[in-house]
Subunit: 431 residues, 2 copies
Amino acid sequence: MIELQNITTSDLETYHSSLSRKYQDIQNKKLNLDMSRGKPCKEQLDLSNGLLESLDSSDYRSANGTDCRNYGILDGLPELKALCAELLEVQTQEVIVGGNSSLTQMYDLIAKMLLHRLPDSDTPWCKLSKIKFLCPSPGYDRHFAISANFGIEMIPIDYHSDGPDMDTIERLVANDPEIKGIWCVPKYSNPTGITYSDNVVTRLAKMSAKAPDFTIFWDNAYIVHHLDSTHPKLLNILTACREANHPNRVFIFSSTSKISFPGSGIAMLASSEANISWLKKLMSVQSIGPDKINQLRHLRFFKNIAGIEAHMERHAAILSPKFKIVLNILQDNFANDHTISWSKPHGGYFISLDTPPGCAKKVVAKAKAAGVVLTPAGASFPYGNDPEDRNIRIAPTMPSLAELQQAMELLVLCIKLVSAEEELAKRQTAS
Amino acid sequence: MIELQNITTSDLETYHSSLSRKYQDIQNKKLNLDMSRGKPCKEQLDLSNGLLESLDSSDYRSANGTDCRNYGILDGLPELKALCAELLEVQTQEVIVGGNSSLTQMYDLIAKMLLHRLPDSDTPWCKLSKIKFLCPSPGYDRHFAISANFGIEMIPIDYHSDGPDMDTIERLVANDPEIKGIWCVPKYSNPTGITYSDNVVTRLAKMSAKAPDFTIFWDNAYIVHHLDSTHPKLLNILTACREANHPNRVFIFSSTSKISFPGSGIAMLASSEANISWLKKLMSVQSIGPDKINQLRHLRFFKNIAGIEAHMERHAAILSPKFKIVLNILQDNFANDHTISWSKPHGGYFISLDTPPGCAKKVVAKAKAAGVVLTPAGASFPYGNDPEDRNIRIAPTMPSLAELQQAMELLVLCIKLVSAEEELAKRQTAS
């Protein structure tokens, strides 16, 4: 590793020229690679091809004889609710199994909170002059997009190694009645890979909230998405909230989007019976029921929790080498560089990389100019605003191993090139 | 037919006793039949069983090579959009193909109109102190349930033989800025069976509206759901609105719910390009895309419009005898009774029956007490309030021919029994 501050300007210029030539070489290869989203690769999708053939003309009834082809059953097939309840570690009556998107469930829930009154609300949120959500950052850009869409003010919250900064959260939530919610990806968090500690979960459940209807949006998207055998345990937040006498505080979301097919999976949510009953009453106006045939397909294909867990090991076998490539290349190039750090996740879909401050936007732009599209710098922060302009979300799942190797070599080169350019610019300003 | 007013009280009492005995006999049979909703029967569902097997492990790509198993394509597969556009007689870019429920599309659209600003709106509707929808009645109870859910005031509008009362509609809409919408089932209307005339469609498109964002919710649910070869032609309202210089006035909805599988079909909507663009921008926050695998399944199964039309003839072959049983029994019993009338639809899912005023609730209650559940009396009117208490919606699709015969005999008996009871009560009051 070269410590740029400690070399002569002449050496720095030579170093920069050498990096520029390498960058030019890669540009000439005309790469064309999209690493902007956490999309499963073809080999992962192939794991679930059995879903395409798991039913036939003689198999369309659920366990109690319901003809799944017809209308009805607002909250999902009973046996799938039971399976999802087991997955989410809640009771069957605390679950609603829906369509193909948990994102849509979150969006719909907030729309309902705006237009109707939650069990613990004084008033529909759209009648209030301002509402605010806490946004642990870096976080999931689509959560922030939903907040922005509904005009909800977003307050960024820093991450510690075991979850979001609870001291700040507790202080804000206890004093500001306009703070109505918090977005959490509590396990293998997008993009940091962090799993919330028991202490963080308990404090979220226990803390005093000025708003009686303060709600935790618990997006447990990566609930069984392990990359190795570590399997960190996440405390059950629904139980924690009930024990803390805030039974209606949390809605838990998950889906099979990254278990089966992203476009054709099953979304689920869980909450207290009071919240579920409130939601089902509103949903009964919106829908006659979800796609039960697709629910039955998933039941036939996965059978039970053991089936899902075995399936996830096959995903991990495909993904783990990809994460290793990324981590190895970062380690090989930046092991001793204290200005650069990255997550080493045990699960989930992302590696979160922090470049030197002020570099992320330029690095992402340079990678794009050489044919590799990364998640836009800043996208993981509310309003797309990374205050230090240093976070880059790496999504290693979609490319092949060979493509990933190329993309990471380019990314490393772009970081070094931008760092050298910044140091040169600094010296020119100083001279 | 017995004219109750013209027989002696003694004869009336004998007649009533005879009806009561027959009713008791049917009660003893302990029927158990639910005719409350327009649900397809098993034989109809079987017509689409090919959908359960229309894809396999080697067939999951759309025409342009898109892997339908993965994320993406917010507005639906291009070739399905093209097919739906042909069905709706609009341009492909005027269509969004969604999930399994057009009801959900309608609900979602109104939620968006409440929380956001339509292209022609001054303000999101939730910021207004009151909004109103016109509700041609009898109509679809789930439309009215959506309005009620969102606190939208409903104004009932009478039906003429060629559609809703346009004189009243034009007068109200021209003068009241709080009237923001109208619910229409323009073809084989639920439950009247009426198809709107060209004159009605043209007047809806042309009329002056005080609200610049007055919107027609055009639920073309029965677009190809013919019962015979009459096939009344419905004028294209999107074209009519564009020609009338109100291009953004209408949203058209339809679905395959009663073509393929009610729980697992494809919903679609169409509107002006400006409205579609507005809606897609908002949808991009709500969803990453619909279930494209299910869309591909429908493409493989139906292939094209001719495939859909041939399929609908097979539905008609199942349904037409059921409608004939209902119509024949009504004709046999009430042909000369000017106090009782009913629709003779060429398509759709219902027969709309008008009993003598003040009898519908009692008839439905008596049928229920004898084991046949009909749609609750009044359900087809805003607030469940049939001002004359005379309309009953008959849904003949679900029962078998034998069950339908039994149910209709019971319904006829209940009408006669309630009529006799009413006449007896009248005489007791008078004496």
